[in-house]
């Protein structure tokens, strides 16, 4: 964390030099060059540039903007749904209402009642009943939709678990057997890659079910990732579903924060099988352990390709924050992936401060669709003479350009902690 904002600071200190009065020139000591200009009291007392910066940060700052989620809009305000809504209005008021009114009138016309009750019974009542019907119907439709999605998801889970659990145990059993006997028979060698590829397919399957449960429309561009050692995939991060969207195409091993609750359970059972690595944001010593695990993983030939989200946190899909250099120090090729969600139907940004993951999933399941584009971009390697930080920035440029995101010079972890005092001194 100390290293991450380095390049931001070097650039900002050079612009601060212009603000700072040239005191060194004016010092009454021996080691002095010619004073560049006369230093007046005015220059010394004029703190307006610094104050302007501070006020600018109070009024609007690029960091908070990264995590701003848009308020949910009423469901009919976009170009696809609005005509549907109009059609609905036409049908309701133009067709349904008159026909109902007509039937009521014909039924009641031969009854002799006073005009007031006539009006109430035949005009006001059907009108309100009509509205009640429609809103009830809409409500039922939405609930039906949700039930369908949950059913799809449950079906997916049933299929998945019924195949995954036996495969998993078979695989584990094989490992144990191997360790016990200390010999690798030809039979074992042959079956285990077959079993692990089944496991991979199953994980991809359950992810596709997940994506289907919230009507995900994902468009993949570019060549599919291939399983090779010495490569790492990096992507920008908007929500936990990034991982699911990517996983349904290729089984990745991901490095992620260990979550509490049912997600943590999922993590330790299913995701373990694809070789995921855990870390804990709050532990300081964790970094070295994780770095070692990462290195070991990329060396292994039959490990799933490793996927890393170098931003370290969820960002609202309009901006990218600074990438952590961990992924870029492993000495292997980095394949960038850019993900961009289309906000037209739903905002996929998971504001982890505002809602838990379960609520977020429910919100996704009750919205119309999740539309996104995934671009697999050209693999990059460290250029000679380039530092990992510069490499990270270069890859961030590529991803931001492809997905149309703006770059912001902040470290994502500032969401969780304050900049340390030495950053202030540096400035």
């Amino acid at each position: 964390m100390a290293n991450a904002p380095d390049n931001k600071l070097t650039s900002s200190s050079s612009e601060l030099d212009l603000d700072r009065p040239n005191l060194e020139d004016y010092l009454p000591s021996g080691s002095m060059q010619e004073p560049r200009g006369k230093l007046r009291l005015r220059d010394l007392l004029d703190i307006s540039p610094t104050l302007t910066e501070a006020a600018g940060a109070i009024v609007d700052d690029s960091f908070t903007r990264c995590f701003k989620s848009n308020p949910p809009e009423p469901w009919n305000w976009n170009v696809y749904l609005f005509p549907l809504w109009c059609l609905g209005v036409v049908i309701r008021y133009g067709i349904l209402f008159p026909t109902r009114l007509e039937t009521r009138i014909s039924v009641v016309s031969n009854k002799s009642t006073c005009w007031f009750s006539y009006v109430v019974r035949n005009i006001v009542l059907p009108f309100t009943l009509l509205h009640l019907d429609i809103s009830l119907m809409m409500g039922y439709l939405m609930h039906l939709n949700l039930i369908c999605r949950v059913l799809v998801l449950t079906l997916g889970w049933i299929i998945f678990l019924s195949s995954f659990i036996p495969v998993h145990f078979l695989l584990k059993g094989n490992d144990k057997l191997r360790k016990k006997l200390e010999l690798v028979t030809l039979a074992n060698k042959r079956t285990s890659p077959w079993l692990s590829s089944i496991q991979r397919c199953l994980v991809e399957l359950i992810c596709s079910f997940f994506v289907a449960s919230w009507t995900g429309v994902v468009k993949y561009h570019g060549p599919r990732p291939s399983r090779r050692p010495q490569q790492v995939f990096v992507a920008n991060h908007t929500s936990m579903i990034d991982f699911i969207v990517l996983e349904q195409m290729t089984a990745f091993a991901v490095i992620m924060q260990k979550h509490p609750g049912w997600v943590g359970l999922l993590q330790s059972t299913i995701l373990e099988s694809v070789g995921c690595i855990w870390f804990n944001r709050t532990e300081a010593k964790d970094r070295e352990i994780v770095a070692r695990k990462l290195r070991d993983h990329v060396q292994g030939a039959d490990n799933n390709p490793l996927l890393i989200f170098p931003e370290g946190t969820c960002v609202n899909n309009h901006y990218t924050v600074m990438f952590k250099k961990g992924a870029f120090e492993l000495g292997c090729t980095v394949c960038p992936i850019a993900i961009k969600y289309n906000k037209i139907f739903v905002d996929a940004f998971w504001n982890s401060k505002k809602q838990s993951f379960t609520m977020h999933l429910l919100q996704l399941m009750t919205s119309w669709a999740v539309v996104c584009d995934v671009w697999y971009l050209e693999p990059q390697t460290l250029k000679p003479g380039e530092t990992p930080i510069e490499f990270a920035e270069r890859v961030r440029d590529i991803i931001s350009l492809r997905a149309g995101l703006k770059k912001v010079p902040w470290d994502g972890y500032l969401k969780y902690s304050r900049p340390s005092p030495k950053h202030r001194e540096q400035k």
């Binding site: 007046r40 010394l44 307006s48 104050l51 910066e53 006020a55 940060a57 202030r424 001194e425």
Partner: protein
């Protein structure tokens, strides 16, 4: 973003506008209110010091501590009044008054040598030593006609800084 705060009524906006001497338009005040609610996470009606510090751009500013002393416990009306010096409609006098207030930490209307030294230290910190800082300040003060013991008041500041090209403006984003 603040979910607990209610929306601003027209009456409130006009009151705030009055309080800041019409340096902000009504749209800007509405925008500032959104920003205020965004920063005031616990919904207490004022922005606490650590909520200001959660904005990294603010936290790394060398004068952040001084400004925090001035910003602590302000409600929205006072917050807008605080920022009014940075509006494009603010007069030069208002801007210089603000700068004076930043220097005058004891709020008694007089800026001492130590006040000026403290601000200079915040800005230049580790780049030059304490002794050199004092020497430079003393020298420059004397050249301007003051000495180490003089107490500067607002009119002195106006005289020193009163230059039409003093730029201290911030744009309030209006969506």
């Amino acid at each position: 973003m603040g979910t607990t705060s209610s929306t601003l009524t027209q009456y409130d906006i006009e009151e705030v506008q009055e309080h800041c001497n019409h340096t902000f338009s009504q749209q800007e005040i509405a925008s500032l209110y959104q920003r205020f609610c965004q920063l005031d996470r616990n919904g207490g009606g004022f922005i606490a010091a650590d909520e200001f510090l959660s904005v990294p751009e603010f936290a790394v500013n060398p004068l952040s501590q001084r400004l925090l002393r001035m910003l602590d416990g302000l409600n929205f009306k006072e917050f807008v009044a605080f920022l009014s010096a940075f509006s494009s409609r603010a007069t030069l006098q208002q801007k210089i008054e603000f700068i004076f207030k930043v220097y005058d930490s004891s709020a008694n209307g007089k800026v001492t040598f130590d006040d000026m030294l403290n601000v200079l230290r915040d800005l230049t910190g580790q780049f030059i030593s304490e002794k050199q800082r004092e020497e430079v300040l003393t020298q420059v003060l004397e050249e301007a006609g003051y000495n180490k013991n003089s107490l500067l008041v607002l009119s002195d500041f106006v005289k020193i800084l009163g230059n039409p090209d003093l730029k201290m403006e911030v744009e309030v984003p209006v969506d």
